[in-house]
């Protein structure tokens, strides 16, 4: 990564964010075990990103979820709702006890984010892949028209980039010069049927996105320092930004790491202690 200067983050900040990430992983394991179904793999893989977003990067007010100057996060990859919910709960949007209601009848924590069920912090209901970035483009466009400093973030999966609509959205982000839009793609190189390059080869996402007018960073998405540095640099860029966050599916629970079969599985209750021990190290 091109850097003009070395950014010093206080080591206490990095340690703090790593601790949050561990907590989020534990929350994800427990809430999914409680639910009996859900998507463990990528939810674990994204814990570091969500720690950085909700505890460092986003300009937001958990006590005032509709604050009109807030940064907004669109979870296009809706099935990793568990990590979003954990981050929202831990940063103060709703009580952490409610995480135990994930996917249950009557819960505000729907299997994929369902805004009208009333959970604070959900910008838009998602779950059908490829749609969220378009909405993020609409929000970013309006933020510019309204001359606010709000930044719009969108998280997608790499498999999700097989959806054509994602590229329509990227094309339009560049057309409208949405430099307040940051797209983060979770590149864990796997999807339901197996490795992405066997299912449908994405080729070079870097080259594709650059051709579509994005500034692209390719980083280790499980490295908090790299995430912090990248977000810092991306603020100065005058076009939309894509952060390819290379993560490991199942990160934090060693026996699961890299195993695509954990895309859509939840841990069994008797596995919880073992998984938590791996996370806490």
């Amino acid at each position: 990564m091109d850097t003009e200067k070395v950014i010093q983050h206080p080591s206490s900040k990095i340690i703090y964010l790593q601790k949050i990430a561990r907590q989020l992983r534990v929350d994800v394991v427990k809430s999914l075990a409680n639910a009996g179904s859900g998507h463990l793999g990528a939810s674990l893989g994204l814990a570091d990103l969500f720690s950085v977003l909700y505890f460092s990067e986003l300009n937001h007010r958990p006590a005032d979820p509709n604050w009109d100057q807030r940064d907004r996060l669109v979870l296009s990859i809706g099935h990793v709702a568990p990590i979003l919910y954990a981050a929202l709960a831990r940063s103060g949007y709703f009580p952490t006890e409610e995480l135990a209601t994930l996917r249950k009848l009557g819960s505000r924590l729907q299997g994929h984010p369902g805004k009208h069920h009333g959970l604070p912090g959900i910008e838009i209901s998602t779950g059908s892949l490829g749609q969220g970035l378009s909405a993020a483009v609409g929000m970013a466009l309006c933020a510019k028209l309204d001359k606010t400093d709000s930044r719009i973030f969108c998280v997608m999966g790499d498999g999700e980039c097989q959806e054509g609509q994602a590229w329509e959205a990227m094309m339009s982000a560049a057309h409208y010069k949405l430099d307040n839009l940051t797209l983060i793609v979770d590149v864990n190189k796997v999807q339901i049927d197996g490795p992405t390059d066997k299912v449908m080869n994405l080729g070079s996402l870097t080259h594709k996105a650059e051709a579509f007018g994005f500034e692209v960073w390719n980083i280790n998405g499980n490295n908090i320092k790299q995430l912090l540095d990248t977000f810092y640099y991306s603020k100065e860029i005058d076009r939309p930004v894509l952060i390819l966050a290379n993560t490991i599916m199942g990160k934090g629970v060693k026996p699961l790491e890299g195993d695509y079969r954990w895309h859509g599985k939840a841990p069994k209750p008797e596995e919880v202690n073992e998984f938590v021990n791996y996370i806490m190290g």
């Binding site: 838009i124 909405a135 929000m139 466009l141």
Partner: protein
């Protein structure tokens, strides 16, 4: 004679003047859909997104979540069918005030042929929860419907309108209330429930049959959803025989909606005028309407058939 798209364009302009939240998203069919009037007046509120309808729907969702009332329009085949999942999830599941124009509805698109003739859009849009489906009968009513889609509807709306200049027979003074059918002709022997341009054909039918002493009620069902069930039941109770007429497949559109109501609440014989589960083709509009039996001579025959089926 006036084109439905002119009505849409005038309606969009007028509601745009009244409500500063209204924005318009173009899909490379600005003039063809009638949006150019809005573009001319409010260029800073018009956003071109090209031939990417799924993205446009999503962008509209994002803008609606940023305090705008977004309109988008393309031909009904593209704005409603290509985009169905996006409308379902990004718009309806989120219950957002996005207004979708379905231009070039029906067979009367003419020479462009089957791919451009929307004959399935009513069926698909009406089955989506939270969606309001409007199908005005002429250009003037299209203008009123477009304005009403903002003033009377809080959530998602689909407005279906035609391409060609067709008879423009309603007036702006005729009140347009979403969900309330208009009785355009009184009668007791049978009812024609029509929508879109076929309302005009239904009125011609009523005139024609009046000369034979058959009095036909004509209901303009300009709102397919929410359907004016009471007017349908009243028609069944008071006239005993119904014909539905739409430039749309006979499966699942207005005919289906009416049949659902009657079967549940007041069974009565129904004849359906519409596309008989086929794709359209190239031709001039009136030729096509005639070939597929949607013009008044065929509607009249359907009325005569359904009267014979009345319960003794």
């Amino acid at each position: 004679m006036k084109a439905g798209r002119t009505g849409f364009g005038e309606g969009l302009l007028e509601i745009g003047k009244k409500d500063p939240r209204v924005v318009a998203l173009g899909s490379d069919l600005t003039v063809s859909t009638g949006m150019h009037l809005f573009l001319k007046e409010f260029p800073e509120r018009f956003f071109s997104f090209g031939i990417a309808e799924q993205n446009i729907i999503g962008v509209a969702a994002g803008m609606a979540l940023s305090k705008r009332i977004p309109f988008m329009s393309s031909y009904g085949v593209f704005s409603a069918l290509r985009t169905t999942d996006q409308i379902r999830v990004s718009i309806c599941y989120n219950d957002l005030p996005v207004k979708i124009g379905g231009a070039h509805a029906g067979l009367s698109v003419g020479p462009d042929g089957a791919t451009h003739q929307a004959l399935e859009d009513i069926a698909v849009m009406r089955v989506l929860p939270k969606m309001t489906v409007l199908s005005p009968c002429d250009a003037t009513q299209t203008k009123l419907a477009t304005i009403a889609s903002v003033e009377q509807v809080d959530g998602p709306a689909y407005i279906r309108y035609g391409r060609e200049a067709m008879p423009d027979f309603t007036s702006e003074q005729q009140e347009f209330v979403v969900g309330k059918a208009q009785i355009l002709s009184k009668g007791d022997d049978a009812t024609i429930i029509a929508t879109g341009h076929l309302v005009y054909e239904a009125l011609l039918t009523a005139e024609q049959l009046a000369k034979k002493g058959v009095s036909v009620r004509v209901l303009n069902m300009h709102t397919i959803k929410p359907l004016d069930e009471e007017s349908i039941i009243k028609a069944a109770a008071e006239t005993g025989a119904l014909v539905t007429a739409e430039e749309h497949q006979i499966n699942g559109g207005l005919g289906g909606a009416v049949a659902e109501v009657l079967a549940k609440r007041y069974p009565a014989p129904v004849e359906m005028i519409g596309m008989p589960d086929q794709f359209g083709e190239s031709g001039n509009p009136m030729e096509l309407l005639d070939k597929y039996r949607m013009t008044h001579p065929y509607i009249a025959k359907a009325v005569e058939r359904v009267i014979k089926r009345k319960a003794r």
